[in-house]
Symmetry: D2
Subunit: 291 residues, 4 copies
Amino acid sequence: MKANTSINRAILLIHCADQKGILSNISQFLSDHNGNILSLDQHEDSEDHHFFMRVEWDLHEFTIERKNLHERIDLFMNEKFTHIHWHLAYRDWVPRMAIFVSKYEHCYYDLLSRYESKEWNIEIPLIISNHDKLRTAAERLNIPYYHIPITKDNKQAQEHKQLELLRLHNIDLVVLARYMQILSKNFISHYPNKIINIHHSFLPAFMGADPYRSAFQRGVKFMGATAHYVTSDLDEGPIIAQDVISISHRDSIKRMKRRGRDIEKIVFAKGIWSHINNKVISYKNKTVVYE
Amino acid sequence: MKANTSINRAILLIHCADQKGILSNISQFLSDHNGNILSLDQHEDSEDHHFFMRVEWDLHEFTIERKNLHERIDLFMNEKFTHIHWHLAYRDWVPRMAIFVSKYEHCYYDLLSRYESKEWNIEIPLIISNHDKLRTAAERLNIPYYHIPITKDNKQAQEHKQLELLRLHNIDLVVLARYMQILSKNFISHYPNKIINIHHSFLPAFMGADPYRSAFQRGVKFMGATAHYVTSDLDEGPIIAQDVISISHRDSIKRMKRRGRDIEKIVFAKGIWSHINNKVISYKNKTVVYE
Amino acid sequence: MKANTSINRAILLIHCADQKGILSNISQFLSDHNGNILSLDQHEDSEDHHFFMRVEWDLHEFTIERKNLHERIDLFMNEKFTHIHWHLAYRDWVPRMAIFVSKYEHCYYDLLSRYESKEWNIEIPLIISNHDKLRTAAERLNIPYYHIPITKDNKQAQEHKQLELLRLHNIDLVVLARYMQILSKNFISHYPNKIINIHHSFLPAFMGADPYRSAFQRGVKFMGATAHYVTSDLDEGPIIAQDVISISHRDSIKRMKRRGRDIEKIVFAKGIWSHINNKVISYKNKTVVYE
Amino acid sequence: MKANTSINRAILLIHCADQKGILSNISQFLSDHNGNILSLDQHEDSEDHHFFMRVEWDLHEFTIERKNLHERIDLFMNEKFTHIHWHLAYRDWVPRMAIFVSKYEHCYYDLLSRYESKEWNIEIPLIISNHDKLRTAAERLNIPYYHIPITKDNKQAQEHKQLELLRLHNIDLVVLARYMQILSKNFISHYPNKIINIHHSFLPAFMGADPYRSAFQRGVKFMGATAHYVTSDLDEGPIIAQDVISISHRDSIKRMKRRGRDIEKIVFAKGIWSHINNKVISYKNKTVVYE
């Protein structure tokens, strides 16, 4: 089947302090085992001479079986290099993604549309919200919707519930679709570089609450949105995707919110897409995002 | 002559707290004196109900002479409205612009090229620099180039010299073409909303020194430039023009600087163009910029 | 109620050969009847001296009642001007929009999401498709979904059915959400400037079928989408909205299609939004689109 | 010296029908001779399975001398692969670029500014124009300026003169800075993929004369510019760089021309920069342009 063929591929994401022969050793390793390289992108960070690489290869005639591949690469990396970070992934991976949402629909509906139309190869085992408002859209797609209200007093207990649900459903990725709550440091620590938030400004400009109002008051000529990994520093995690649109004196705050919804949902989807397709390397609070 | 015809026009920039009948009174006034309105743009700020308008009209059959126009408008405004701010300008105005520059050529050369090719209808009576490096380009266009080095100790005296030169040359507008000095509060107070700076980031992100390095380190996916009026708060004056370009992991700081030069010069020129064509209203540390 | 207040407004869209005093006469007319102008944008086409204007005013204290307004404006226009085209609209208009769709979901789901979340103030009385594939999404929102298959032989009869349905449901606007059929000249004649199509290229480049493949083969560095009114000349009607994104050698046709879906849906929505908010004037196979 | 260090590098541009082991063989070859790979970008065309690669490596400890490198690579390629196209280049290459210009200054001045400020590492041995208008700017930089007027009758003879001059000055690249003449097929054949033109539209839209007027009349919402290699099919050669800006009803043709100048010069410079930095592979009337 053609569909299967095109996704019987492996991906290796690598970064480390620059060392001699990384590329040639790895390409030799793949070649020795009959792996046809389909795409390779390698560069060096100009400031601290850090090496980054993404390579994707065909597994059809590859002579190492999937079940042994992780171990074989591990042996190879240990033998050849020091302090190398690598991540092995497969094209046919189906990430299990949880959506957190509050009351704004636009990003949420956009994600569900991509899911329903099979635009993305993902599973959505559950949706969690601090409000009951958006239950219908979940239920008609047969996705369990958990209403977990958060107050100042119950936050710790409710986050515990959330974590338990994520664990039970074996979640790979949490996406905050305009979820209006701040996650605790403890919560975040369970999903490092696995929680993606959409912030409605071109960060680092206008961090925190009500960025459209701040942008309006500052009189900027562009507004934007940013998808980023969540860290314990609010709105300061590694940026995955951004986009901007021009604004003018005719843009009231209300109009900015309306136009902003469209950038938010597109940038959010772009960031998630890069993550679930193993296109992102995180390093030093930044990301390398391959096309 | 066609060229003259198209510029025998007047422009009125108006803003005030919203009052009844501003538009109809003004358009009636122009109509009563046979002024054909060529373009009018009016809107209200949605937050504080402030009224803004720009109107441009043909003077060919206008029955008030130029020499009387300012006074007649003044009478009219005082009679009809309270606390109205207005500025009368003419299309054939030739602003006298001083360039301040240090050692970076790109914005400077770009301005001189526009001047030499008569792309802009301006005069450049003088150029001031704290270095002697870029004298040649000034002299071949017969523009006086004043080398006024600034040190911590002589700054006050040298600024005094600069102000004297600007006054002598009857300067309307000062543009800082990557001039690497911070102007004193006193200097700025002589040219309110008449000094335009180019900052190499999409403000308010990355204010201050070395914004490309800051942008690189934050890992943003866009870089930009901002043309703004200079106020005593560094990099916080009213923004006139901005633009951005996307960047990726392949953009080293060096490459950002190279690519940045092109946005800087285009955004700077765009901001200056809007100013010298009477397209800008400043209000509350923001600008309304008409197309 | 605040919500009602903000939409008790009228809008006048005007165009005509340039004549003296249009603006002052109209603003006087509004002022005479106590209409507070909230926004006015007026310009003249530079090539053929055609006058265009959009004015929006508050009706709260306006002394002409809605039921008489059309007639009063008609009288006024006839008295003052010759060959003037004008359209009166109200902010609280709820357009009745029919969606035509085939098998692609992305634009269709996006429209339904905007409808469901009440982002747009519209009614969708029916959806028509030549396939039965996308019925579910319609039915869960209680929108009648008509499956009207089109073949070479039955096209005329089926279009007759479609027109009958549109008439019965009193449709104001038809939007083709990647509807893969070409409408007949007769069909189009019933809805002049009332059918909006989304084409997946930056027209006029790559008209006709499979524009992504054509763009790939030509090796352009940008791809785009265009929302336009449908005329009998395929892909040549007045353009309402466009957008583009940059592409590189890493963009296969497959990837272009994936990325294209997002521009298509945003540009389509932008075009429709402008239309249903009375922001568009059509003239000479072009549009003036107010912000 | 730091400056020299950073440019003692070689670049290999490769394309061919896909074959096994290209990447591993080449990286092995470089590694075997102690060449540290600084950047490598490899991908496969999805439509016809063509392989493309750009690799840049450090020559400091590379064990093959420059004078032997071409031959050694030739041997290696012939031994390992069939029908492979490759181009070897060096980072410290100083291309010799001829400018052709007519009467428009903006692109021309922009190129000269980059040259004068040493932004680009090039030589400009001569400038050729069919008018004498822009001689001054050439002469003050001591660049010979040849005035070679073209008429219908003398075109063949004048092109012969031009070719002779290019040959004498050992020109690597010809850039047409809004040169308003169409080059003959014969002329072009001497510089395949070595003549870069700037066209003032986003090709393939609005080929030929007066594209701003055509864009205005079609009512597009974006205008653009395209840098492309010149082939005997007018405006149809491989596109190297493009950019666009949004336009509205306020953009007259005159205003489009004014705003267009800035995109033209930036896109032109971008295309030339990619070429002189060996970032371009031409294939099937398209280009692969590396970042």
